[in-house]
């Protein structure tokens, strides 16, 4: 039992990321409100960033900014995950903006944010219902 909890403590950040991912995933699946779905998607993004940045951290090392011209690799953390997360954040901001704009247009047309209602009205409009 001791070993198990030690193992849990060793991967505490990835576990937190997985739980955060689950929160976002379930929000995305179970809510019918489009805004809440977008919030769920953003929570999932955050979980992915938490996971990625945790890989770049090495205990006792500095952030990857060269201090006093000392380029000893054993002194600094990994600069690569930070760069990848930066890219990811920008992409998620872009996706969120487009999704919100689409939601505004859907609301303007159907006066509803509920996906089921929008779907039903769209079906009726096109004679598929």
């Amino acid at each position: 039992m001791q070993g198990f909890w030690e193992q849990v403590w060793n991967v505490r950040i990835p576990i937190a990321a997985v739980l955060l991912f689950a929160v976002g995933f379930v929000t995305l699946l179970l809510h019918r409100n489009l805004l809440k779905k977008i919030i769920g998607l953003n929570i999932m993004d955050t979980a992915a960033y938490l996971m990625l940045t945790s890989f770049g951290y090495i205990e006792g090392r500095l952030s990857p900014i060269i201090q006093n011209g000392n380029t000893d690799p054993a002194l600094y953390g990994n600069p690569l995950p930070a760069g990848l997360v930066l890219t990811g954040i920008v992409v998620s901001v872009s996706v969120t903006a487009v999704l919100l704009a689409l939601t505004v247009r859907l609301y303007a047309r159907y006066h509803s944010l509920n996906l089921d209602e929008i779907y039903a009205m769209a079906q009726k409009e096109h004679g598929l219902g």
Binding site: Y76, T87, M121
Partner: protein, 299 residues
């Protein structure tokens, strides 16, 4: 005088006079349907899957969704236990790539901030694509939300921005500091934490605060759709051109043209400083543009 229309009413009428290309894109074969009549407030919510065929599926959906979520979590948790311990050295991610970046990054790129060196020099194409993703998102929002010019709709947009004493006073003190700090973060991107994306977001936040406090009309003389177009495209063109030369020089021939300089100086690190500035301009414009589009349907 006409009563101030609420946000909901304005959103509802948005489609009527919107800049809407749906008809032209869809062509005469599939004309866009006319706007639906408004439903009474207390109407029964319409249900997409209420039909008899879908009753089982409808009942099962939340259960299936919860099961799917639970399965995902269980599988991910099992997989997570195979990861190396958090914060340990010598993990598979702490490999020769990171070693090379840390050891040679400063001499090769001239950037003290290794993250800036990685994203704007070694992996500059990645960041180029990223800036274009941001720009494409802005264009998509522009297509979706840009309204036709209509003098009947007042300039301050869908939400009435009240000229609040507290907000204007705070903004008049804070906005110069915020913009100055954003400039510092952009220009210091190769020397310390920061860079184009974070600095651009800070400047964008400053512009948004200014617009909220004093109204869009004051910013509009400088930041309208025309100047917006020129600024964003100039920044993106500069970025694209300054990174295309590595096609011709070979990926590692960059520093024969632009010397990395003395690491630690403000004018060093070759092209990283101007690239940071270009990215910062695009990000600041995009932040303000998105806010303005969501707020009042135009820039």
């Amino acid at each position: 005088m006409e009563r101030k229309r609420s946000l909901k009413e304005r959103l509802r009428d948005w489609d009527a006079d919107a800049f809407d290309l749906t008809n032209e894109i869809a062509g005469p074969m599939h004309p866009a349907p006319a706007a639906l009549p408004e439903r009474p407030k207390d109407a029964e919510p319409e249900d997409a899957l209420a039909a008899e065929d879908f009753r089982v599926l409808r009942r099962a959906y939340p259960i299936l969704a919860a099961l799917l979520g639970l399965m995902t979590v269980v599988f991910l948790l099992v997989a997570v236990f195979d990861l190396p311990p958090f914060g340990a050295a010598g993990t598979p991610t702490d490999n020769e790539v990171a070693l090379r970046y840390v050891r040679d990054g400063m001499t090769e790129t001239g950037a003290v901030n290794l993250v800036a060196g990685v994203i704007l020099d070694y992996r500059a194409f990645d960041t180029l694509g990223e800036s274009h993703v941001l720009f494409t998102a802005l264009v998509a929002v522009l297509i979706l939300l840009l309204k036709a010019e209509d003098p009947a709709i007042d300039d301050e947009g869908t939400l009435t921005l009240r000229q609040d004493r507290i907000v204007t006073t705070a903004a008049s003190i804070l906005v110069p500091i915020i913009v100055l700090f954003g400039l510092y973060v952009i220009l210091n991107g190769h020397l310390g934490p920061g860079g184009g994306f974070s600095g651009g977001a800070i400047i964008g936040a400053g512009l948004i605060l200014y617009a909220v406090a004093f109204g869009f009309s004051r910013l509009e003389t400088k930041l309208n759709l025309g100047s917006f177009r020129i600024i964003c495209l100039a920044a993106l063109w500069f970025y694209s051109l300054s990174k295309c030369y590595s096609f011709f020089c070979g990926a590692n021939g960059l520093h024969t043209v632009f010397s990395p300089g003395t690491p630690g100086r403000i004018l060093s690190a070759g092209l990283i400083l101007p690239l940071n500035a270009a990215v910062g301009i695009v990000v600041a414009c995009t932040m303000y543009g998105l806010f303005s589009l969501f707020q009042r349907g135009k820039i």
